[in-house]
């Protein structure tokens, strides 16, 4: 080997000279041939800044992507919502035994799934919003477009923080590593950003009453700024209520700010914030029909069955197998080892003749706002009648589904039904059948305690938020303890998540520990507990109580 070392040394000298010769020869032969290299190395399917100038595409072109990525197409929707909060809120359970039945649905948290929530939030929403601000100077170039960007960002990132707790927010995009903000700081920024959005929209509406410059890019309101204003106010009310236990003063202030803004709230189904158009198809329909990965949860069917809910046939399709339950509405209990398809495939699914390919995905509907107002009234923040708000909420939901409430609101006896799973127990599988957990009835009862009436409000809000509102309903469940949801049949969390108290959050993506280690460690410190599914987030003060206590 000595010889080679010797050769290497010798080579260094030769190499230098050789290089000179070659480069000189190369220059001679090739001349300026490499001047095309920039053009060659440019992807011809790319789009340049200059090309986007026409028709304000340089600003507006970002928005369809941002809007779609709040829910995402089927793959992203499945990972970001359908296989976590949609299950944790009792709406859904998959008949597909992903990862051999060891996955999110039985509390074995799958990093590769959950990290998509970060990807969608930061790369597909905050990324373009950041570019709108920094590259397109949207703040000053177009304050009304900027207002929409802020509303969409708050909508999208509120899901991220509610899933995880502390997240990077104020310092995003500023440096190679990104420090985490506490969840309280994140919420305070949400409120400030909504302030800006509301101010900008009101100023624009005042100056240009009927103008719809955003129409071309709008998947939600076809360019109507007054509707966006209502959405901004309603979103503020929703976020205010999230933090009612953690920071009651701010919650009340922000709730009243939302309720009292002259722009108003979403009050009718015509105001509903929902995504449609631009070829976007309903991901729930897709996952359910194309992938047959979707059944509904046992908690949902137990309430709808128990309440004889007139919405049930619109919302759900009856089971087609096994024989004992054919024609009935029977969901799958969370955390059931579902075997392989078709074992549980015939259990109730969403009604895909109602929820079809292009049915809009609802971001926020009017009934939710009425239930939020009912809760505000119940808490004594307003002088409205909690009962009226509650009943309007139920009726608004009935009309959203195109059914008549009939005697529903005066039903004082119906309660959640027991759940029977005809496929369990079997060899090696625990019994998934379970008694009803709630005794709450439908009709408003002024004599009931605030706790009971809150359960009534949240339970009806939960029904009304089906099928798209899994993220919001999981937040409500953690915040209030309602509705009473069946615990998982099998808990594969390795002791980090209590079966009785249920899952409180999902853990940070593993990639954060490699690419943003100091940032995420700061986040864990702010979280105040281990980075697992058992640690509650900041606004989740209801933790550790098997019986909810909100007052």
């Amino acid at each position: 080997m000595k010889k080679i070392t010797f050769l290497k040394k010798k080579l260094i000298g030769i190499n230098t000279l050789g290089k000179c010769v070659l480069i000189a020869a190369g220059a001679l032969l090739l001349g300026g041939c490499t001047k095309n290299f920039n053009a060659i190395n440019t992807d011809p399917t790319g789009i340049t800044d200059a090309q986007t100038q026409a028709d304000f595409n340089n600003l507006g072109g970002y928005y369809p992507g941002i809007q779609q990525n709040i829910f995402g197409e089927e793959g992203d929707y499945q990972l970001c919502q359908n296989l976590n909060s949609d299950c944790y809120s009792g709406y859904y359970m998959s008949p597909d035994p992903f990862r051999g039945n060891i996955n999110n649905q039985d509390y074995s948290l799958v990093d590769g799934w959950n990290s998509d929530v970060y990807n969608m939030g930061y790369v597909n929403v905050m990324g373009p919003v950041g570019h709108l601000a920094n590259l397109r100077h949207a703040r000053t170039a177009s304050p009304h477009f900027w207002a929409i960007a802020l509303i969409l960002q708050v909508q999208a990132m509120s899901r991220v923080t509610d899933y995880y707790g502390p997240i990077p927010y104020s310092k995003v995009g500023a440096a190679a590593t990104t420090p985490y903000d506490s969840q309280q700081q994140v919420y305070n920024q949400f409120f400030l950003q909504l302030d800006t959005a509301v101010t900008n929209l009101q100023a624009y509406i005042a100056a240009n009453p009927n103008a719809t410059p955003f129409a071309k890019f709008d998947m939600v309101y076809a360019g109507s700024y007054p509707e966006w204003l209502k959405y901004a106010n309603s979103l503020r009310l929703r976020l205010a209520m999230h933090i009612v236990n953690a920071d009651p003063a701010t919650a009340k202030t922000q709730a009243l700010k939302a309720i009292n803004n002259t722009g108003g709230l979403i009050t009718t189904n015509g105001d509903n914030a929902q995504l449609t158009g631009f070829g976007y198809h309903n991901p729930i329909w897709w996952i359910g029909t194309s992938w047959t990965d979707l059944s509904v949860g046992a908690s949902l069917t137990s309430y709808l069955n128990g309440y004889n809910d007139p919405r049930i046939s619109k919302m759900l399709s009856p089971a087609t197998s096994p024989a004992g339950i054919t024609g009935q509405y029977v969901g799958i209990r969370a955390g059931t080892p579902v075997g392989g398809k078709p074992m549980y495939n015939g259990y109730s699914s969403p009604n895909f003749s109602v929820i079809s390919e292009y049915t809009p995905m609802i971001l926020m509907n009017a009934s939710e706002v009425w239930f939020l107002k009912a809760e505000a009234a119940l808490r004594g923040w307003t002088t409205e009648s909690a009962q009226t708000d509650y009943e309007t909420g139920v009726n608004t939901s009935m009309s959203q589904w195109g059914v008549s409430a009939g005697g529903y609101l005066s039903d004082k006896t119906s309660t959640q039904a027991d759940y029977v799973d005809p496929l369990t127990p079997q060899a090696g599988v625990a019994n998934a059948s379970i008694k009803a957990m709630s005794t709450i009835t439908i009709a408003w009862d002024n004599a009931a305690t605030n706790e009971q009436n809150l359960e009534r409000i949240i339970t009806q809000k939960w029904i009304a938020n089906f099928p798209c509102g899994g993220w919001e309903s999981w937040t409500d469940y953690r915040r209030t303890g309602y509705p009473r949801l069946f615990p998982v049949v099998v808990n594969n969390s390795g002791g980090t998540i209590s079966t009785a108290l249920q899952i409180r959050r999902i853990q940070y993506p593993a990639s954060e520990y490699t690419s943003n280690a100091s940032g995420v460690q700061g986040g864990v410190t702010l979280l105040g507990g281990p980075d697992n599914g058992g640690t509650p987030v900041w606004w989740d003060t209801n933790k550790g109580q098997a019986v909810p206590k909100n007052f």
Binding site: K3, I4, L7, K8, L11, G13, I14, L17, G18, L22, A25, L29, L30, T34, N36, F37, N38, I40, N41, D43, P44, T45, G46, I47, T52, Y62, Y63, G65, F98, G100, I102, V110, G112, M126, G127, G130, H131, P168, V172, A176, T177, T178, K216, F278, Y280, H281, T289, W291, T292, D293, P322, G340, K341, P342, N345, A427, G428, E512, T514, S515
Partner: protein, 1031 residues
């Protein structure tokens, strides 16, 4: 120093001196020409006959016989006979690739009997090296291995590279499992790149070609992917190949630049020869059958209400053989002929080959036509040589078998419940749906994305790929002087592929959007254009030193264009597979094929100095300008190589038994640029009126990967050349790996690229050949090759200690391929059992085991490879066989995991017979557990995401790879000159194989998916016959 100075002076000198010398030499030639053809022709001419044979007594066909000092000559026929007009006193020169050039003086008109010595035993043999430059083997400073065309064509395979398997030390060949015409993965001296290709560069007659697969590429997950359509090298007609030279080390290949960091395979093709026109015809037929089957239990029936086999014990054991109802015998029929003719001034070669093959999967077939036309002309008094070689290849492959879970027939076939009759599903794979007015949809026992009715896949998920390829090489060489020539070459390799897969309504809905079926279609054309200009010089010097070398410049341009019509939201009217009938989606239906345009311009030089014919020094230097590195400051970069060899046997006097001894050493660098378009990330326009913002973090300091390698070796020939021995040691380190990483996600980018890391390969190669018996009547030659390679990931990103690069993600399945510091390339990661300190498996209360996160469970690459080839000649008979072994390594069988979890495997049946699976476990309370219910156990341990640790098998495999026995019919016929019939076979016997599949095969010839069996097609045993006739 002196040598490089010379190099600097040569360029201008050449330009100035060339014209003057041109005139002078032209004059000389004219004079000589007159002498040859005018003066000598006056003399009386005799008819000289003779025979040329090799040292084993085999007649040699096609040997060039020329009269020394003239261009007159002929070539030998298949019986080795030649006839030409010459004079007593003339000297005949016999030359033939692979044999020593021999001169014989004509002393009488009696027939001559000439024996040519095999080149492996000779020292002056010429070897084709980089850029097609021929050099004496003696002067080479690096290892090279030559395989002759006959060796490749004795036992034909549908991919040329499969014929090299086991023959070349340091080469790891892994055939893919994609049926006839499938791709092959070839790795020389270990994998070097974390991203990009690890396969060698293929060069035909000095000029690079592409080895591209079609736009479908290769699968990158255990789910499989679009069908493989074969690689570039599989398109060639093996009959056109004269010889293959394998340049494994960087020193040998450095002149080819970036494409050659993984080694080079040089293919020398046949050309026309002056003399009697010759027609060769060859025909071969082989019959293929699967060489192993999975083992099924026969006692337990279907799970009531389900599709698994966990049901009650059957009253009598199941007797059906579902595999017999599915697999067929494959076959391969190849007919080829070539025509060679020429005179001193022009030589013509034409060939046509037709390959028709059927796979063991029904409906899988391949049809290929190869046309080759090559013309060599000599002009301007033989000063100028023009060589044009055109190839046209037309290939169609139908129903390439799926790999992995999707579109693969085998999951459905293997997992089918025991005791249920599969024939109704075979006969009626589609049933009419009254509700859809009779539309036929799939009839199957399960509704799962991982299994469909096998016959439904065959007939209702059909795929095809067609390829039309034109490969045109042209070169013009002009000899300005004895010591200086200039060569200009060009090459266009244009590969046009169309692939399509139709998915009929009724296909599993996970695989096709909507309920009406869908299709995907790709139409892609790849054009590689290459041109170079090379000045070769040999400085006329007197004395001990001799200097020669070359200077050149080249340009390589690769451009891929095309369209990809994706399924959209499926079809509007069921099963009408037209583009108009596709429902549009947010992601547009038709999109540009992942485009790629890159260009590399280079200048290079090589200088060879010899001293007294026993010391040789070779220096090379190359500078590349790469378009892929535009937008950085690194688009120009250069790399050197240096090597030294000493012929000890010529330097000093060695003992008598050592006929030849050489030591050699070299050091070389090769730089590989980054992928196309990476340095210039852009926003992209998307359908639906939006644009997608760039998600790639820009990195303006990207640079090439730099592979530095050392090599040293010894070549010996002993006992009068009967024993030859070659030994090579090498070590290569590939620095500045091109690595994809995930930036802090809060940066707003999801993906980034950087250069970091160091992947090291070290190993040795050893070859030993011995003529055990050497006589006219009987000879026996035996040859052994040995190689090993240790691959080690020394570093990935500095400062990120636990970084891993996933070559294959787990996708919720049991297998991952991971590159991690301290590990090696292709490491398999999977979950393991959690165990206590005494090794007991920790069990949950229900008996299922607790498992770890994904950890390393093995590596599939062999620790070493050994090949042993024997050739016997007895009279007219020739017997050849090759035994080879790949030793060490572990592979994962996901097929077995699923068969266990579905209760169809033998193991699952035996466990039930035994009252459960025998385990060494401990329950949560600390009590020992020795038996667990079979269904409970295999439900967790088996299955798609089961415990990989439990399904790792030894990858060691020793087999009789090929065997052939041939007979030369004694033909005394002026029309038929030679007739040879051979019985051939390949993959005949597994002497040792512990895995339930052939560990050598691979799901992907790209990066990742090594050493995992996910319902891979079984390898086949091939038997047949071949016929060669020369007219």
């Amino acid at each position: 120093m002196k040598k490089s100075l010379l190099l600097t002076l040569i360029m201008p000198c050449l330009a100035l001196g060339a014209e003057a010398r041109l005139k002078a030499t032209n004059g000389d030639v004219n004079a000589r020409y007159k002498e040859n053809y005018t003066v000598k022709s006056i003399k009386a001419i005799e008819t000289i006959k003779g025979t040329v044979k090799d040292s084993k007594g085999e007649p040699l066909a096609g040997v060039s016989v020329t009269i020394k000092g003239t261009t007159k000559g002929t070539q030998s026929d298949v019986n080795g006979n030649f006839t030409l007009q010459a004079n007593v006193g003339d000297v005949l020169v016999f030359s033939y690739v692979g044999f020593t050039k021999t001169e014989v003086a004509i002393t009488s008109t009696n027939p001559l009997s000439v024996v040519l010595a095999d080149d492996s035993r000779q020292l002056t043999e010429v070897v084709v090296t980089a850029l097609g430059v021929k050099r004496s083997e003696k002067s080479l400073v690096y290892a090279n291995q030559v395989v002759g065309g006959n060796e490749l064509n004795t036992v034909k395979t549908d991919n040329l590279m499969n014929s090299l398997n086991g023959k070349v030390a340091g080469m790891d060949v892994s055939p893919s499992t994609s049926g006839v015409g499938g791709s092959v993965k070839v790795i020389l001296r270990g994998s070097k790149n974390a991203l990009g290709s690890n396969q060698p560069l293929y060069v035909i007659d000095g000029v690079p070609i592409t080895n591209s697969s079609n736009a479908n590429g290769q699968p990158n997950s255990t789910y499989g992917g679009s069908p493989d359509g074969g690689d570039g090298i599989s398109n060639l007609n093996p009959d056109d190949v004269e010889s293959i030279t394998v340049l494994e080390g960087a020193a040998a290949s450095a002149l080819y630049g970036y494409q050659a960091a993984n080694g080079v395979i040089l293919i020398t093709t046949k050309k026309g020869k002056a003399g009697t026109p010759q027609i060769n015809f060859s025909s071969s037929y082989t019959n293929d059958a699967i060489s192993y089957k999975p083992k099924f239990q026969t006692e337990y029936g279907v799970t009531p209400g389900g599709n698994q086999s966990w049901g009650p014990k059957l009253s009598s054991p199941a007797t059906a053989d579902n595999l017999k109802d599915y697999f067929v015998n494959g076959n391969n029929v190849t007919n080829a002929f070539n025509f060679s003719s020429g005179n001193e001034l022009a030589q013509t070669y034409f060939s046509y080959a037709n390959t028709s093959a059927n796979g063991v999967q029904p409906t899988n077939d391949l049809h290929r036509n190869n046309f080759t036309f090559r013309e060599i002309g000599h002009f301007l008094n033989n000063k100028m040589t023009v060589d044009v070689n055109t190839n046209y290849i037309n290939q169609k492959i139908q129903n390439t078998p799926g790999e992995g879970f999707y579109y693969n027939t085998l999951p459905g076939l293997y997992l089918f419940p025991v005791g249920v009759d599969i024939l109704p599903y075979k006969n009626d794979y589609a049933v009419a749906q009254p509700a859809r007015n009779g539309l036929p949809t799939q009839n199957w026992i399960a509704n799962e994305d991982v299994q469909q009715n096998p016959w439904w896949i065959l007939y209702k998920n059909p795929n095809y790929s067609t390829r039309n390829r034109a490969l045109i090489n042209a070169s013009v060489k002009y000899d300005f002087a004895d010591w200086f020539s200039l060569t200009a070459r060009g090459n266009v390799d244009r590969v046009a592929d169309i692939t399509q897969q139709n998915l009929y309504a009724g296909t599993n809905p996970v695989l096709t959007p909507g309920l009406n079926g869908s299709f995907s279609r790709t139409d892609q054309t790849l054009t590689q254009t290459y041109g170079d200009l090379i000045a070769n010089f040999k400085i006329p010097m007197k004395g001990a030193f001799k200097i020669d070398g070359l200077l050149g410049a080249s340009i390589t341009d690769n451009n891929t264009v095309g369209t990809n019509f994706s399924p959209g939201l499926g079809l509007a009217i069921p099963n009408v597979f037209t583009e108009q009938n596709v429902l549009t989606a947010i992601t547009s239906n038709a999109s540009t094929v992942s485009p790629g345009h890159n260009q590399v311009q280079s200048v290079f030089g090589s200088l060879n100095v010899s001293y007294h014919g026993w010391a040789y020094l070779t220096l090379t230097e190359r500078n590349d300008w790469s378009s892929a590195l535009a937008y950085t400051n690194n688009e120009s970069y250069s790399y050197p190589s240096v090597g030294l060899s000493f012929i000890i046997s010529d330097m000093v006097k060695l003992p008598q038994f050592i006929t030849y001894a050489k030591v050699r050493g070299s050091y070389a660098e090769v730089a590989t640029p980054v992928s196309t378009y990476i340095t210039n990330p852009q926003n992209l326009s998307a359908a639906g009126g939006s644009f997608t913002f760039n998600i790639y973090e820009p990195n303006p300091i990207l640079k090439p990967t730099d592979t530095k390698s050392d090599e040293a070796g010894v070549d010996l020939k002993l006992f009068d050349n009967r024993l030859s021995f070659n030994f090579t040691w090498y070590k290569s380190n590939s620095y500045n790996q091109f690595i994809q990483y995930t930036p802090a996600i809060s940066s707003g980018y999801s993906t980034g690229y950087l250069n970091a890391g160091n992947i090291q390969n070290t190993g040795v190669e050893l070859k030993l050949a011995y003529d055990v018996v050497k006589s006219n009547k009987f000879s026996w030659n035996t040859a052994i090759n040995y190689s090993d390679n240790q691959n080690k990931v020394i570093q990935l990103q500095p400062g990120v200690p636990n970084e891993q690069i996933q070559l294959t993600g787990n996708g919720a399945n049991a297998y991952e391929s991971v590159l991690a510091v301290g590990g090696s390339y292709d490491d398999i990661y999977g979950v393991k059992f959690q165990r206590n300190s005494s090794g007991q498996i920790l069990l949950n209360a229900d008996g299922t085991p607790k498992t770890t996160d994904y950890e390393k469970v093995g590596n599939p690459n062999p620790k070493f490879q050994l090949g042993w080839e024997n050739t016997f000649n007895y009279g007219k008979f020739t017997l050849n066989f090759l035994v080879d072994g790949k030793f060490g390594g572990q592979v994962l069988s996901m097929t077995q995991m699923l068969m266990d979890s579905y209760g169809v495997s033998v193991a699952s049946g035996q466990a039930r017979d035994n009252g459960g699976v025998t385990v060494n476990g401990v329950d949560p309370s600390g009590n020992a557990v020795t038996k667990v219910n079979a269904q409970t156990w295999y439900g967790t341990v088996g299955g798609r995401s089961g415990v990989a640790e439990n399904y790792m098998f030894s990858a060691t495999v020793v087999r009789l790879r090929t065997a052939s026995i041939g007979y030369n019919f004694p033909v005394e016929n002026s029309f038929v000159k030679n007739l040879r019939l051979s019985l051939i076979g390949s993959n005949l016997i597994y002497f040792y194989k512990k895995a339930p599949f052939d560990p050598e095969i691979t799901m992907s010839t790209g990066i990742g998916l090594s050493g995992v069996d996910v319902f891979n097609q079984p390898t086949t045993r091939r038997l047949g016959a071949s016929l060669n006739v020369t007219f």
